[in-house]
Structures are given as structure tokens and as C-alpha cells.
Amino acid sequence: MDAALGLMRRIPPKHIDTALSALLSLLPHHSADLLSQVDQPLQVLSDIECGREFILCEYNRDADSYRSPWSNKYHPPLEDGPYPSSELRKLEIEANDVFAVYCEQYYEGGISSVYMWEDENEGFVACFLIKKDGSKSGHGRRGYLQEGAWDAIHVVEVGPDENGTAHYCLTSTVMLSLTTNNESSGSFNLSGSIRRQMNMDLAVAEGHLQNMGKMIEELEGKLRNSLDQVYFGKTKEMVCTLRPPAELLQMRFPHHRDV
């Protein structure tokens, strides 16, 4: 398994799907572990009844069917799949509505879904997902990207209410890929995935949705900045180390002029 996870960190992020299928076929006995530990780009299904799309993931799947957060029904229909309790479903509905607005504000397009389910510790788990296609042909408002995909997966484990506070453990994964393509500079593709965790103890009176929402917003912002400045920045640094821009060369090797 370690070797499998090691491979996933080296294979180009745009080939995650192929790499994961390959590993699943080589290690069929580890499929449960692989699927839960390796994030794949998100897929989407249409809930025709409600006229909206929803995101597929391990958390709304049972056998080969997926539960829509809009209609609360499985597609394709399932005899007896698991459902959240009616109270949790109320929270799930509200979360989906609110998160859709959050998604519109930050992503200007894109698809969101939230799934919740009870866990064994009298708490519950919520999974907030976003899928954005930022390419020119998708929802890219400014038309810069030939290809652009952002997939965010936020899993929050909420502990039971203890004296008015609950413990929230958020694990966020962002996978992205962006490609620009033009005559003068060829094709430029940056892609990657990073995952971080955040733990907080917050007052339940504020509302679970508000608590989770603020954590997600904060961590998502941090991941975005980290990707932009640290991760992409490091690759840019590497390029400039391989072939320094002319100005730097003149500074570093002034004696070359005399040779």
C-alpha cells in the first residue's frame, strides 16, 4: 500500500484516473483502502427530476448507485440504500442550498453537493464537494484556460455535543489542473493535488453549518494560496534555476563577458 501511495505522489496529476485504475487492477484486494485514501477527480450525474447535477463520491455511493442530494433518491434506483436520518437530512438540505451559493460566489459556476451521514460516535460526518470546469468551453468567465479543472473534497467529522461544544475535524483535498495554449508560447500545464487537515472545538450554538462552513472557507483559501504561491512558485523557481533569465545571468557571471 505504501508503494501504491508513493506512486500516486509521483505520477503526473493529470493521469490520476489512469493510475488509480491501474493500481486497482494490480491490487484488487486493496481496493477499499485505495479508494478511500486516493482522491480521484470528481464525476457528475444528472438528477433529471430536479433538473440539477450532483457529484459522485464514495460517500453517496451504495453498490453502483449514487444518492442525489436534491431528491434524496438513488440513481439508478436502489431497493434499500442507506439514508441520513430525517433530522440530518434537514441539515443536509440546508447545507446544499447554502453551499450552492458559496460555490457561486467563489467559483462563478461549478457544481456543488453535500452529503451527511451518522457515524458510530453519536456525531456525524459531512462531505462538501465542488467541481469546477474553468475552461473556455466550460465556466471560465475570462476565457484564459484551454483546460481547467478544480475538484475540492471537504470531509468534516463532527463529534457529539459536549457541554455546548463539539469537535470538528476537517480534511480538505484540492485537485486542480490548468492548461493554457497559444501560438506564441505553446502549451503550459500546471496540475496538482494537496490535502490538509484542520481541527477546531466550536460552540454548537453557532450552528453546525456555520462552524463547518467557516472552517471550509478558511482552509480552502489557504489551499488556494498555497497552491499558487508555494507549489506553483516552486515549479517556477525550478525553471529559473534550470535556465536563469538573462538579467540574472549578467549579474551572476559578469566575467563571462571578458572570456
Binding site: 508503494a3 493510475a19 491501474a22 487492477s25 440539477r52 493554457t180 525553471v239
Partner: protein, 308 residues
Amino acid sequence: MADEEESELSVEQKIEIAKWFLLNSPPGEIQYVAKDVKAILKDDYVYETAASEAFSIYNKSHLLCLPMPNNSGDVLITAFNEIDANDYLDPITAQVAKVDHVKQVCTEVRRANDEELPFPYVEEYRCAVDAEVSKYVGEAYPKGVCSVFCTSGKDVEEPGSDFELVVVISAARHSPQNFCNGSWRSVWNIELKEDLQIVEIKGRLQVGAHYFEEGNVQLDAKHECKDSTIIQAADDCAISLTNIIRHHETEYLTSLQASYSNLPDTTFKDLRRKLPVTRTLFPWHNTVQFSLTRDLAEELGIGKQTNQ
């Protein structure tokens, strides 16, 4: 998909998968990938078969640079100077290097035969271009290696026939302790066309970088360009061609830097904004209003949620 597979993969399928992982290794990381692949396969035959095919392709496509055992310099492993599967010509020292692809080492060298080397007329051009490009690479790349090979017409004895050269530039930087690896590869095909009295040059540049501290981010950039110049004596030609190469490569680096600086405000914004248009964080405490009424959504100027 999560069910147990009906039948095991065939040996051929496993070999193909192993090859795929090896071939898609980032620059400088094939040995690490190989270790992981070996551990997963637990089958030496499959691994060795896959490795013997994949390493050779990987080394050539990544323009691997290996030191020759007798301290006579380095040899570049490419498709252009391949004499046969494990032998590669180094035109500067006129030697042929024997290579173990999987271990990525050069095991021995021998003198090149006359048939393996270009005739003097072509060699004059090859050598002049090599000298000029080496000067350029020495200045522009802190750790760059280059070579010039004759890919067609090496038996041309005098002016009157076309021949082709290829300039290969390879710079790699491996810092696994800093979780960062990268490579710059340029391949310039030069065609000398006697009847038109011009030299056409086509370049393919490829830059890659991988940063993987608590994450996995990779850059993959490619560019193609072409240019031409008139045929002159070998030395003058070499200077013209090197100037062309220097010009295009410098421009390409500039455009790469521009792509990076556009990221925060333009390209990245098409994926996710730093902040909503309101320039404030999302009002989570007002959520009750959202779920009760659509009017607020319109007020924020986002309209109906259709997600098309």
C-alpha cells in the same frame, strides 16, 4: 468496480501497466517509481521485462546524460545518436558508449568506426555548430549539457547534397531532499537545403518540474517553433544558428515567466476567486435567509442555480 475481479490480469497486461508507470515518471524519479512498482508487482519476471523496455524509452526521451568511464566526458542518450539498443555515439570524442539502461550507467566505451562518423564535409558543420552551441549552453544553463548529431546525409562529401543535424540540449536538476525535480529539454532539427540555399531549423522545447512536499504538483510545458537562415560557411552558419536558438529559447523562458505571473489574477481566477465579488468572506451566519428565500440570491446578482 470494488468487487473482487473475476480473473487475474494477464502477464502482458501487468507488463503494460508497469511500463506505463515507469514511462510516466517525472524527471529524475524513475528509480523511485521502479522501486514502488517492483514492490507492488511482487513478480520479478514482469518487472524486469517491463523495465528493460521502459527504461530505454524513458532515458532517450529524457535525454539522459551519463559520464563515460574513462573520464573523457559525458554522453547524451537520445534516439539521434543510437547506434543500436545499448550503444550511443559521442561525436566529440568519436567514441561509442555502451549503456545499461536500467541501471542508468555507461559501462564501457570504444573508439567509433569510420562508418559511424560523418564525412569531413558534414563533420565541419557539425563541429562548428557544436562549438558555438556549447558556448551558448555554458552561458545560459548552469548545468546544461548539449550535443550535435548528424541525423541524415552523413556520407555527403561535398556541397551539393542536403544533410540534417540535430542539436540536443538537456538540463536537469534533481533535489529529492527538497522534494523538487525538474528538466529542460530542447531538440533543434537543422535541415540544410542545398537547392534553396537555406537552412531550416525547427525547435521542440519541453520543460517539466515536480514539487512534492506534502502534495504533488507538476509543470508540463511544451513549445514548437521554426526559423531559417541562409547557407554560409560552417563557422558563420554555426553562429547564425546558435543566435536563432538563443533568441527563441530566451523568448520562451520569458513567456513561461509571463504565464506564471498571469496565474494569480487571471488564469487561476477562472478556477476559484480569492474572495467573492463582494470582497468579504461568505456570510455564513446569514444562512437562514438563503434557504428560506431566493430573493437574496438575486440580490447578490447570481440568478438561478442551473449549473449548466
